[in-house]
Subunit: 151 residues, 2 copies
DNA sequence: AAAAACTCCTATTAAATTAGTCGTATATTT
DNA sequence: AAATATACGACTAATTTAATAGGAGTTTTT
C-alpha cells in the first residue's frame, strides 16, 4: 500500500496538470478544497514535490503552485518515490531504500530476493510508463465510454 | 513493503517444506533459532498460518508444526495475504481488503484505479505462480550457479 | 503604505500499525 | 509425574503515518 501522502500528491499534480497549458498556478487552498485534502497536510506534500523538482511555487497574493515539467514527463513511480517511499515489497530489492536482509548471508543465493525483484520490475514498469498526461487522457476515455453506455 | 511478519512466515514455511517428504515436524524453537526469528513472534505467526489452513500442529513433547498442503500448492500470494494483508497499492484495488476511495465518485471513471489494478494483477501473477517448492528448487539452482563460478 | 493573500518553515500532537513480550493453560510423550 | 510442546489472551514498546498549530517571510492589490 502506498501512503495517503502519495495518493494526495497524485491528485494534486493532476489538478496542476489540467491547467498546465494555460500556464496558470493554483493555490494550496484551491487544490485542497477541490480534492478534499487537509490543507496543512497538502502544504507539506507540495513542499516535498517542490524539493523533488516536480513543481514550482510563486509566493504572495495570487501565488500558488505549478508544474515545472510537462505532464508527459511526470510519471507515477516518480511521484510515489518522492512522497511515499519504496515501491518494492522488501527492503533488499528496493532501489532507493535498499537495506540488506539481516539473516540472508548471500543475496545471490536468496530465491525470495529474485522473485521480489521480478515483482518490483513489473510494478515499476507500469508505474513509470504512466504519466500525468496519460491519467488525464485515460480519464477522458473512460468518461466517453460511460456516456456511450447510457445512450 | 510487506511486513516482517510475512517474510518470517515465508522463511518458516520454507523450513517446513524442506522436511515435508519425511513427514517430520519442527518445533517453534527450532525454526526460530534456524531462521533468527523472535520465538514468541514466530509463535503468533505460525498460529495465523494454522488458522489459515497452511500448517498443522501437534501439541506436547516432540510436537511441532508441519505443512498440511504440498509445497507445490503453497504460493507466496497466499502466505502474504494470510499474514501481511493487502498486496495492492491502494485499498480501492485490493481483493481482500477492499475499501472505496472517499472522494472518487465513480470508480469506473478513475484512471488511477485502472493503473493500480494493472499493477496488482502483475504482482499477484508473479506471487501466485511461485510456490514453496519453486523457492527451494530455485535456491538449489542459484547455489549450483555460484559453485560453477568459483571453479 | 497598508492590507490581503499567499508560501515557507519548524514543531507538535494524534492515531494507527507493527513488532515483540509475558504468563499461564493445555496437550503429549517418556 | 516430569519434561516438552503448542494455545491463547492480554499487554507493551517502537515506529510510521496523518494531521494540526502558529507564525515568519513575500508579493500583489488597493
Amino acid at each position: 500500500m502506498i501512503p495517503k501522502r502519495s495518493k494526495y500528491a497524485i491528485q494534486a499534480l493532476k489538478c496542476l496538470a489540467k491547467v498546465y497549458r494555460d500556464k496558470k498556478h493554483l493555490s494550496i487552498a484551491v487544490i485542497a478544497e477541490q480534492e478534499q485534502i487537509p490543507r496543512k497536510f497538502l502544504e507539506a506534500i507540495l513542499l516535498q514535490l517542490r524539493n523533488g523538482g516536480l513543481v514550482g511555487s510563486k509566493m504572495g497574493a495570487n501565488g500558488g503552485y505549478f508544474l515545472i515539467k510537462h505532464p508527459d514527463e511526470i510519471v507515477l513511480s516518480n511521484i510515489i518515490r518522492l512522497t511515499g517511499g519504496p515501491i518494492a515489497l522488501l527492503p533488499c530489492v528496493s532501489l532507493n531504500f535498499y537495506e540488506p536482509c539481516a539473516e540472508c548471508p548471500h543475496e545471490e543465493l536468496c530465491a525470495l530476493h529474485d522473485v521480489m525483484l521480478e515483482v518490483r520490475e513489473a510494478s515499476i514498469h507500469i508505474l513509470s510508463k504512466t504519466s500525468l498526461a496519460d491519467l488525464i487522457l485515460r480519464e477522458k476515455k473512460l468518461f466517453r465510454k460511460l456516456e456511450n453506455k447510457h445512450k
